[in-house]
Amino acid sequence: MIEQWKLLKNPRLAARFDLIGMVTGLMLVFFMFGHAMMLATIVFGIETMDGLSMWLEDLYLAQAGAVAIVFVVLIHFVTAGRKLPLRVNEQRMIWRLTRKLSHLDTWLWLVQAVTGMMILLFVAVHLYFVLTTFPIEAVKSSTRVASNFGYFYAPMIIVIWLHLGIGLYRIFVKWTPFNRKILKVFKWLLILGFIADSLLVLKTFWAIGLQYVN
């Protein structure tokens, strides 16, 4: 006897989904590194940031990049999110296990799952405001931050870097035999370092924006 559903199953699909989830995750990690570095140019002044954003727009990199990133985020959500507990029973099981186990990596997986959902919302709102006020300009961004949008970006920064740091750590854990103790140190350095950097950049935007709002 043959279980017929197995005939319909593509045995290579799980492997492909897993790899696509990892590759899109890595692409988003590198995008965020680049994004953070580009935003950090505000520290060197409004002209520096505007020069960079003009260069990106002249080459249509900003416009094409935004569209590409939306696609990559959606593909990543579908492929990486397929292991999320969607049924109530699964959610109860994982919550019960996580609560009782007192195991940091299990807790962090839960954090990654929740921050993943939150990022979808944050990115949607962020992209709406950026794309409807194109082109990107330092003063425009600063005034947006200073007109209370900073309270939106501060938690967004924490959520994104947490998700990214934990995700990158878990890619290494799942695919390489590297020592986890060392990977854990790198994970926290990356998360805390980039949160500090991004909050500092946000503060700079806020300070510049306040001059224009007032």
């Binding site: 290579r12 292991k83 996580t98 009782k100 299990t106 390489t176």
Partner: protein, 225 residues
Amino acid sequence: MQEYRLEEYPGLNLYIALNKIREEQDSSLQFDFVCRAGICGSCAMVINGRPGLACKTLVSTLSRTITLTPLPVFKLVGDLSVDTGTWFREMAERAGSWVHTDKEFDPEAEEERMSNEKAIEIFELERCIECGCCIASCGTANMREDFMGAAGLNRIARFMIDPRDQRDGADFFEVVGSDDGAFGCMGLMACDDLCPKDLPLQAQLSRVRRAMAKAAFAPKKKVAF
């Protein structure tokens, strides 16, 4: 939940404590044990939320109130006793947990030699005592009953590195190249942290995952019906 009170003394471990409770307070208390030395894996249970072996756990390392529950995932026999045997037998059958070879066995012939390093590497993975702690602490295994867990993937890794096993990447892919096998692992690594025998489970999980990803992109075998 039943409560028992017991006076602690130096060197008391959970296994002894449970035996004292059964002898002095409740003769109906069910729990498993065989070796009393962390070798058989029978006395695995959830100790204050974390799977572990009763015989390897000193009461002095725990809080004053100790909560013991049976391992999840496995079928419950009663109290702290679970049936890990059925689960491990099914897993072994699925994994094809024996050396696959088309060489005819000659009982008179000298055993085929392998390097000492290889033998040690295989032995390291053979140390699994099938206690079920990795399965009980695994997020995926708790949610999805078909997942082979770290014990199953460790078993596959053991045969992957065995030079006597003639199975290739495509053969192993048939067994673990799915979400029930290598790609079901979410990388929570409680298995690696809580294994009572300190098996290098992370290294095996990643080894199998890499091999299966490679096999997924290898040219398909032609199968004639």
